[in-house]
Amino acid sequence: MIEILSKLKDKLDSVAERSVRRQATNSGRRSFLAKAGQAMVGMAVVPMLPYDRFGEAAAAEFEQKGDSAFSADDQQCDYWRYCALSGTLCTCCGGSVTDCPPGSDISKVSWIGTCENPDDEKSYLISYNDCCGKMSCNGCRCSNHERERPGYRLGLHNGINWCMANNKNAYHCTVAAIVGTA
């Protein structure tokens, strides 16, 4: 009986040893680190997708700063071109109303809405392009939704990461360019 158990133990030992040796030959610590790194990066990327990009509560707090109906300050959420902008203002991140900050690229697709300019009381077509390829800017966050529609009306939805069609998908901030009159 003891002999049988001893043989079984030896067998188990050799199986375990072969298995460990095979694993050690075929993979290394670097392989594990690479896979763990991919997993961690994956986990970091997933939350960026594709809805509710940047805390609406924080955006709402920032919104309170402006005290006029329409601000002329393009670093404020109530600046007229931002009537349907949800995200971070590029004007607070080293860019302008129409230009992305250095190191980020303009999104290839966008959503286009209309806003009324209080100066001439005319409506303009505004293209909300995201700036892509840099991690999120912690500047002014806005949550405006004029004439926005839910996500199933994709072309009228501003909660989406419009960097999705770019090679570098990280969202940085949003610009608001006039592309015509309404």
């Binding site: 896979k35 960026m48 697709v109 293209s127 004029e146 072309g155 960097c163 999705m164 090679n167 309404a182």
Partner: protein, 166 residues
């Protein structure tokens, strides 16, 4: 391990959303809902309703599975089912625009982006035609496009490049 990439989402979600959207507001009043005047220039309506994805130049974005329209978008009209296909594609149906606006925008598209490709330069979509073509949408748009493409290919007529589901 291959991590899930954003590319997957751009390839899967954007076209799916464009294709599956329902024609909720087919004949609603544009000025109140979208903030654009009913009599606004058709180029502006194209920009508002289509330009975000298709681009103001109509070239789309192949990386996002938005097909290119110029210069051959008008070639669809060589096929008897071409107009049916065009007014029922996801972008037109999900834009939430009236039959009249859809007709006007389709005419803008074929004259601005495909003037050299149409079989007949005087061809124009009408609101009545759009309404009728929308009554029975194709069951499978991708299959319909493939069928049209095959029929036209036999006649030596090419459709626009960069169709993602060829």
């Amino acid at each position: 391990m291959k991590p899930i990439t954003l590319k997957f989402f751009s390839r899967a979600l954007l076209p799916a959303a464009l294709l599956l959207s329902a024609p909720t507001f087919a004949n609603s009043n544009l000025s109140s809902i979208h903030g654009i005047a009913d009599d606004a220039p058709v180029a502006n309506k194209y920009a508002l309703f289509c330009g975000g994805c298709h681009g103001l130049d109509g070239k789309g974005e192949i990386e996002a599975d938005v097909p290119m329209m110029p210069p051959r978008i008008g070639a669809f009209l060589y096929d008897e089912e071409g107009a049916w296909y065009m007014v029922n594609v996801g972008g037109v149906m999900s834009a939430g625009i009236s039959d009249q606006d859809a007709a006007d925008i389709m005419n803008y598209v074929i004259t601005s982006f495909g003037a050299e490709s149409v079989p007949n330069s005087t061809y124009r979509f009408t609101a009545e035609q759009v309404a009728k073509l929308r009554e029975n949408p194709p069951e499978d748009l991708v299959k319909l496009r493939r069928d049209i493409s095959k029929r036209l290919e036999k006649r030596g007529i090419a459709l626009p490049d960069h169709y993602p589901w060829n």
